[in-house]
Assembly symmetry: C2
DNA sequence: CTCCATTGGTTCAGATTTGAACTAGTACTC
DNA sequence: GAGTACTAGTTCAAATCTGAACCAATGGAG
């Protein structure tokens, strides 16, 4: 039994192999997202976007980043980032600073509490990533996926 | 320069290769999701979850499915599905029927308008999937990804 | 048959996301 | 240096998502 939406009826659509890849990718992404969200909420009261913000800031020089740059990194709208930074500021994990070079700009800065929170939270989070994704892939698959996904990421970022 | 969160400081975390794979996967998933959402909204006024519901129903025998089963397929909470089915019903693309075998149950049924909408929308949607994902992968990568993702999907569904 | 644990869906409140204004500051252009 | 187009962030309203509480209906166990 073939799907209603395949290349049999229209060659411009996706053939069996392509559709299988897309479906598997999509399901995995959504299921994993749910697991991650659940774990982070339970372990640290963080959402996944919030966690990602902390990671990006921790990796940035001076533990700080401009709002727009951060939004692009986390792949979220500017308004969503504004909201989340406000939340994280309330929690004491991040602070806002005005940017010295550009009076319009705002720098999000990771606080010591934010750093501590990330260090406390990362192991449990990465354990989920490992348990449900990484540990099910061979080294070859891992490398294939990295090069392939980087290529698509390039395309998606234009 | 290595990331703050890697296996150098703690072997239980992820090494460079693993982290690279995870990051690339995550970014691609998020960026692609945004593109898809944008295209579907512009072309058909649908959200991605809504489109997925139509696809699942179209592929189901009798073009109908139980709410819970559908929710699991689309990977969304029961309440989110209730909400979306109501939206789709309002748009005339889906109808609710009481389940004959189980008075508690509800069947979501794809209407003719729903089928037509899907057939009209699918090409444009699949074109995006092809342009930003499929066309950037070799046949080998495609197959590797399918087997790998299916394995992780299994694990995630327990 | 009756009790009770389970399952299927809905409702509800609260949190989050998005794009569309809007404000403020920057940087060309002439 | 004035005028205008652009960039950076925030605010706002509307839509959506989630988990918890809830209401039926089912299905054993005794």
């Amino acid at each position: 039994m073939t799907s209603t939406l395949n290349a049999v009826t229209n060659p411009r659509w996706l053939d069996e192999t392509e559709m299988a890849a897309w479906r598997a990718f999509l399901s995995t992404a959504h299921l994993l997202e749910r697991r991650i969200e659940e774990q982070l909420k339970a372990a640290a009261g963080l959402t996944h976007p919030q966690y990602e913000i902390l990671v990006r800031l921790a990796d940035a020089p001076g533990r700080q980043m401009r709002m727009t740059e951060l939004a692009k990194g986390v792949i979220v709208s500017k308004s969503a980032l504004t909201y989340q930074i406000t939340q994280l500021e309330r929690a004491g994990l991040v602070e806002r600073t005005t940017c010295p070079e550009d009076d319009r700009g705002v720098l999000a800065v990771l606080t010591d509490a934010g750093t501590a929170c990330l260090e406390r939270t990362a192991p449990g989070h990465l354990e989920v990533v490992r348990e449900y994704l990484i540990d099910h892939l061979t080294r070859d698959e891992l490398e294939t996926m990295t090069t392939a996904m980087r290529r698509t990421e390039q395309a998606l970022r234009q």
